[in-house]
């Protein structure tokens, strides 16, 4: 028997990959289109992560399918750019992932402190 607390299907906690995490963080405060997302992610990671277009849109497709982001209707459609915005579900998942990382960081710091003593 599996002792797992019952959750709705859309609320299953799974560790997020780095591109997905960075995309969600970038979209947390405002909608962005593909190119802006690449630039935002580059700036967020201090130039460490530069997503390729394929990786970015692969992650976007999966996030759209999961309902974590959605397409955002822009007034200016002349440039063929489609913006994306985070959904409440995506926001919840991001918050949970950040809590998970915080918990891990706290545990790791405590362990390291014990080791140095």
């Amino acid at each position: 028997m599996r002792h797992v607390s019952p959750r709705a299907k859309d609320e299953i906690i799974k560790p997020l990959t780095e591109p997905v995490m960075l995309i969600l963080i970038s979209l947390a405060d405002r909608p962005l289109h593909g190119y802006a997302l690449i630039k935002e992610i580059e700036s967020l990671s201090d130039g460490r992560v530069r997503l390729s277009t394929g990786t970015l849109y692969g992650a976007i497709r999966r996030l759209l399918a999961d309902g974590w982001i959605r397409r955002f209707e822009q007034d200016d459609k002349s440039r063929d750019k489609q913006a994306y915005r985070i959904t409440p579900l995506g926001y919840r998942q991001l918050r949970r992932e950040l809590e998970r990382i915080e918990h891990l960081t706290r545990a790791a710091k405590a362990n390291l402190r014990t080791r140095t003593l």
């Binding site: 997503l51 390729s52 277009t53 394929g54």
Partner: protein
């Protein structure tokens, strides 16, 4: 002279599954063109790095997308087989239920062979010491 990388990229996008391509082709090409423009301004080293990153990312995603597509197809066909088998089982159960419950069918064929004593087992071994009144009850 700048090579037209976007044209090559658009051709490579054709390797994606059709549904994925229709959904993102224009956006991906536009984003690629914008990043390529920026890299050309930064110099050839940036362009080479960009092309390599894009090639690796694109090939990985194309393989991944096809993999997802094939897995979905396999899952669908496996479910179809399972559904057919469930349907057959349901049909058999329905016939069995009708046979068991309807007196027009039931008892026509005599006793249930599963309850009958095989010839090589003695009466006492099969029925024990009980006194059998009918097929379904025994009084000890």
């Amino acid at each position: 002279m700048k090579p037209d990388l976007t044209r090559v990229y658009k051709k490579l996008l054709r390797l994606y599954p059709r549904d994925q391509r229709l959904l993102f082709e224009v956006e991906m090409a536009n984003t690629f063109a914008a990043v390529a423009e920026e890299c050309f301004a930064m110099g050839w080293a940036a362009v080479v790095r960009f092309v390599l990153t894009e090639l690796i990312g694109l090939s990985r995603e194309i393989v991944g997308e096809w993999n997802i597509k094939f897995a979905a197809e396999a899952f669908r066909s496996a479910n179809l087989v399972r559904a057919r088998s469930l349907l057959a089982e349901g049909f058999a159960a329905l016939i069995h239920a009708a046979y068991e419950s309807d007196s027009r069918f039931k008892n026509r064929c005599g006793r249930d062979p599963r309850m009958m004593r095989p010839a090589w087992i003695s009466w006492n071994d099969w029925y024990g010491d009980g006194l059998w009144l009918d097929d379904s009850s025994v009084v000890t």
